[in-house]
């Protein structure tokens, strides 16, 4: 898979978005740890709720939703924090949380990498993406029934984040379980089929401004690299392959995590970061038509 991209791009730029994402995933816990380690209190708290420079509150909206379901209205600080967080994700893309902040993403990405290296292709067939919706509903209902924030008893995301910042306990057992589940049982099993936090942020993604766009989809030669790497491959199909049905080039599905991996791996530079407002069908210019013709002529030549 790499050969195709490396042929057209420097290695550094081949992994541009991946490296940026890893930097973000590592920087965020480090920022939290600067306080207890060196006394630089840039941000306090953790992913559930935090305070930047002792002024700007941030609070996880999914946790507050459960708190509301349990019948408790939080203080203003938390509500302001929720508003800021929601506005942020509505701008950058809902599931940016999943791919750029969530510490579990490092675990599942590692499992996916190993899965590919070991050529494991097992997949539980009764797993459906709708399961995570059911889990989300169950979590809200159970919050209402028990009167507590139910998902936080088991949420591996905040647990791992909290583990890094305050002390791990036996959290690693849960993390190992997710790793093995993703490695041997289902591809991207946790994030793709089970995690209700991702579904919740996916709601924000449905209206978010920044989106990945299959800008030059006419140049796609169906190599399949983006589908192989994408954690939620079903989001690519409409934007990339449905031009003839009048579907615009922007990936609008809330499931898209804006991880930018498709931009990295595409050797034809089909994808680019854009906004949801650039969804008009592109005019077919003479130049682009010529390019398409060239591609098809090229592929025919290689086949014969």
């Amino acid at each position: 898979m790499w050969r195709r991209v490396v042929a057209v791009r420097d290695l550094m730029f081949t992994n541009k978005w991946l490296l940026l994402r890893r930097a973000s995933q590592i920087t965020i816990p480090v920022l939290f740890l600067l306080g207890p380690w060196y006394g630089i209190w840039f941000v306090k708290g953790n992913l559930a709720s935090s305070l930047i420079l002792d002024t700007v509150p941030l609070t996880d909206p999914f946790i507050v939703l459960q708190s509301l379901a349990s019948g408790h209205i939080p203080e203003t600080t938390a509500l302001v924090g929720v508003a800021i967080v929601i506005l942020f994700y509505v701008f950058v893309g809902g599931r940016v949380y999943c791919s750029w902040l969530c510490p579990i993403n490092l675990v599942t990405d590692a499992a996916e990498w190993l899965r590919r290296r070991m050529n494991i292709s097992t997949q539980w067939h009764f797993l459906k993406r709708s399961i995570r919706w059911w889990i989300l509903v169950t979590v809200i209902v159970m919050s209402a029934i028990t009167g507590t924030i139910v998902w936080e008893f088991v949420n591996p995301i905040t647990m791992l984040n909290r583990g890094l910042l305050y002390g791990m306990g036996v959290t690693w057992i849960l993390i190992l379980a997710i790793f093995l589940f993703d490695l041997f049982i289902a591809r991207r099993g946790w994030c793709g089929y089970l995690c209700p936090v991702g579904v919740f942020y996916g709601f924000l993604g449905r209206v978010s401004i920044v989106r990945v766009r299959a800008k030059k989809r006419h140049l796609c030669d169906d190599c399949g690299d983006c589908f192989v790497t994408c954690p939620e491959p079903h989001v690519i199909t409409p934007a990339l392959d449905r031009a003839e049905h009048g579907v615009g080039p922007v990936i609008l599905s809330g499931d898209c995590t804006n991880c930018g991996r498709c931009i990295d791996v595409c050797h034809a530079d089909v994808f680019a970061v854009s906004s949801r407002f650039h969804n008009a069908l592109p005019q077919i210019t003479q130049e682009s038509a010529q390019q398409v013709a060239d591609i098809h002529a090229g592929s025919e030549n290689t086949i014969t």
Binding site: N46, S49, T59, P74, A78, T138, E152, F153, M159, R162
Partner: protein, 257 residues
């Protein structure tokens, strides 16, 4: 779902029946799975509502544990606000609800900062912002649980450790006179540390500073969560009523005369 019908039988019709079956089985399966998940989550959260007797919630924590767990987002801002590093977040696997703040009085008691930074730090109101005077905090209630170890009970010492260290001094813990009738019938005056529930904040300074804490068996006086100690239950640690007090004093006087 496989369709056994011939393709010529009409694609639409057979896809309709199979999709309805799909829908029903899928829904049933999902409902079963989610009931199990809900049951597990519910049971786990019920277990989380009880916590060990030595773990105390920070000042201002909602007395109703269910309300506390419905508000606390487990962010640890109170932990970071505590200038004495007394608070910690429960790790996964500990008996206290995962990620919730607590302190163990015997190790690090609450030092009762007058500005209550932990309550100010709480974004959700799990620690009640209405608590402005730390002396109104009720983190728990002290109880002399080790009457077999307390120096004042058995050794007839005049140990003042808990009474003098108490931040609500002279109010929360007082030494009360008591006539001790020994097994051989002789009587002796002793001074019993007595907790007055209406003043005790449950900070745990007494537990931390009890001289018996360093011997096996732990401190003779311990702070217990309110959920464990019913506050109206003053069987062992009530103050004597004025009448009783008078009776004791006149008796003592009569003895000495």
């Amino acid at each position: 779902m496989k369709s056994t019908k011939d393709k010529s039988d009409g694609y639409l019709k057979c896809s309709f029946t199979s999709s309805r079956r799909d829908f029903l089985t899928g829904t049933a399966r999902a409902a079963c799975g989610m009931s199990l998940l809900g049951l597990g989550l519910g049971l786990y959260s019920e277990v989380g509502k009880t916590h060990p007797a030595n773990t105390l919630r920070p000042p201002g924590a909602r007395a109703d544990e269910e309300e506390f767990l419905g508000r606390c987002v487990r962010c640890g801002l109170c932990v970071r606000a505590c200038p004495y590093d007394c608070l910690r977040l429960a790790e996964f696997g500990e008996p206290t609800a995962t990620g919730t703040p607590y302190f163990i009085a015997e190790e690090f008691p609450c030092y009762m900062c007058p500005d209550i930074p932990c309550v100010k730090a709480c974004p959700t109101g799990a620690l009640d912002p209405k608590l402005t005077d730390i002396k109104d905090a009720r983190m728990g209630v002290a109880r002399v649980v080790g009457t077999d170890r307390c120096l004042n009970y058995w050794f007839n010492h005049r140990c003042l450790a808990c009474t003098t260290i108490c931040p609500v001094r002279g109010k929360a813990i007082t030494l009360e006179k008591e006539i001790w009738v020994k097994s051989d019938g002789t009587k002796q005056l002793r001074f019993i540390p007595t907790v007055n529930d209406e003043h005790c904040t449950g900070c745990g300074m007494c537990e931390k500073n009890c001289p018996m804490a360093r011997y096996g068996g732990g401190a003779a006086i311990k702070v217990l969560p309110l959920s464990i100690v019913k506050r109206e239950d003053q069987r062992y640690h009530r103050r004597f009523t004025p009448e009783e007090q008078k009776a004791i004093e006149t008796k003592a006087k009569a003895k000495t005369l």
